[in-house]
Point group: none
């Protein structure tokens, strides 16, 4: 592996460690769920001993929390930016959000997080609540805001913006689930971007004002 030197048994990557732990934990949680994952598993997966984990996080639960907090924040920020960027252009804004979702869905490890949070919602309600506030509520607001604007601009039929927002988000969210929970059970799913495209298309047709009326 290293041809030039006898490689010290132990390399120092001190700042990277917590992140490595979180990576390993995410892998394990994804594969077996939170409860069925043993600290031992996480430890081994990042080449540490069980005890060393406790140098970085005070408990298993803390790892879970840190995982969610650490990985979700950047997502949220990116999404927010995307929407803000497409301010007046309603369809552009929707595309931006959708595009952002595609980026998430394309990254297995990112895509797994929401699933994990929802799966463990019963045991960690505060985490679910934080996720909801940070991601679900915000995304819903952004989208229904855009839809509202679309209606005002005469682009869309006068639909309930919130319900419509769900119509757009739900297929995307479910797609994440299917990819993971039913991996291998469905005939080669389409790629996230295809799914996004089809979803947006149907959605826009569904809410479109009748432009064809002369």
């Amino acid at each position: 592996m290293n041809r030039t030197a006898p490689l010290p048994r132990w390399r120092r990557r001190p700042d990277a460690r917590p992140d490595e732990v979180l990576d390993a934990a995410l892998d394990a949680f994804m594969a077996h769920g939170y409860a069925a994952t043993r600290m031992e598993d996480v430890a081994r997966a990042c080449g540490l001993s069980k005890a060393a984990l406790y140098l970085y996080f005070p408990s298993k639960e803390a790892i879970f929390r840190a995982l969610v907090a650490g990985r979700l924040q950047p997502l949220r920020d990116a999404a927010e930016t995307a929407v803000a960027a497409a301010n007046e252009d309603v369809v552009g804004g929707l595309r931006a959000i959708i595009g952002f979702w595609v980026k998430v869905a394309d990254d297995e490890r990112l895509a797994a997080l929401p699933r994990l949070v929802l799966s463990e919602a019963a045991q960690f309600p505060e985490i679910a609540a934080a996720y909801h506030e940070m991601m679900v509520a915000r995304a819903s607001q952004a989208i229904s805001g855009l839809i509202g604007r679309g209606i005002a601009q005469g682009l869309f039929r006068p639909v309930d913006p919130e319900a419509a927002a769900r119509m757009l988000l739900a297929p995307l969210a479910m797609d994440l689930w299917r990819r993971n929970a039913f991996a291998g059970l469905e005939p080669a799913s389409r790629s996230p971007s295809e799914v996004a495209e089809m979803t947006l298309d149907l959605f826009l047709k569904g809410v479109a004002a009748r432009q064809d009326r002369p």
Copy 2:
């Protein structure tokens, strides 16, 4: 024991027992998840001792399996019937399926099952697979079949039936999740039947052929 003796004041409904266990288990699994539920909890909830549980089911996992199998089968059958009933009438068929979903969503205990299955999919892949085959795949087929027929009848635009099916199902499925995982975090959700109505409306508009062209 003695068929001629004066009726006992209270009969032990021995046949109901396994079902009582499953009920209790479902409650507990819903509330805390599979892993965090102790056999003790289930036992107490149905007025038995831990040991007695093992008279009816050989293991905790078996309870989970029995739960899913026992509760989902009837659902599936009912749904199937609903679709078959509305054979030629495409919109009627869709309405039937949607109506069926409303019935599920209105029953907390039924609605919880899919959530549970998906949450534990990582740990019990075969259960997830069974659920998928029995429910997801079947519903998708039924719906995309109807959509295909709708297209053939000129009612719908030529969309991809499978994708369209997901567009219809996903908002409903997500609604189940929201009601549970985010209970209390969202401003009083609409009732399942309202959600179903709005979803179907948007969906039909989205896939409708342009009837307004003269």
Copy 3:
């Protein structure tokens, strides 16, 4: 061991169990101290598994508490009775208390408790406080009360009753310690009753009023 029957592997002594556990725990705590005693040790010492201990006590600390509470209460009551019995007779009252101490000191397991409590006082201050209130303070009061009465009756010199009480109690208390902490290091200590006798004798001489003045 049992020639008449194949003896069931497990005999049922359900009510005795908690007490057996406490006995075993006391033995172990005496021998190695609280911290160095493993639940495993206690379990084995009373023929149970570690897990079974938790059927009877919710934690190691709870065992310690129960031990102190359960064993000390009877002692306290007995002592109290002894004093009350010798109401007017000052010397008789002192003898009664001393006699009571002899009974404690003669029973290794009883004698060990105070030592244990004091040893672990730093870690379990509330237990130490309870012990102090229940035993130390009460005994001090009883004795200094008797001494006060002795002074009033002209039997004793006018000494500080509290200080005098300590003069009487301290040698007895220390004797308990020596027997245990320095077991084997001192040339065969005298028996508790001898120690008590000598201590009381010296004490009475020390506080006696000068009767020999004509």
Copy 4:
């Protein structure tokens, strides 16, 4: 390092280090007991890292041993000197020893040591033995020697010198305990010197020959 260079602003007192460790350890042991004290605690208390502790002592137990050995030796020597000084004067000798005890009792950190040793006697019998030999036995001998001489000189009644010695020492020893184990539970104890005074007074009265017989 360089004897001619401009004096470093602050020298590292390297020789003091082991003693600083022992100080810190004593504080911690006093506060929480030996077992409940973590090396981490000791390290932080003397501004070192855990690992550095092992530069000075090979183990936690070694710290305890060094503590006892290092702090007790000087005590013992001082006491011995005190007694030897008051050779013929029996009461003077007793006063010297008592005075020595007062000095110990006035110094919280010194007073804590015997308590610590006795508390951990079960786990460290050799330390207890060393303490016994070095302190208890010696003090007892010194005192009973003095008492014997007092009897020979006709100052004291013919009591058992050993028992009498205990009568004198025990209240003092117990006072140490009370101050610590029951800190705050007893109404402001008297100062060590007062306690010593009262104890000696009662003791002398108790063993005094009847001087008042004409």
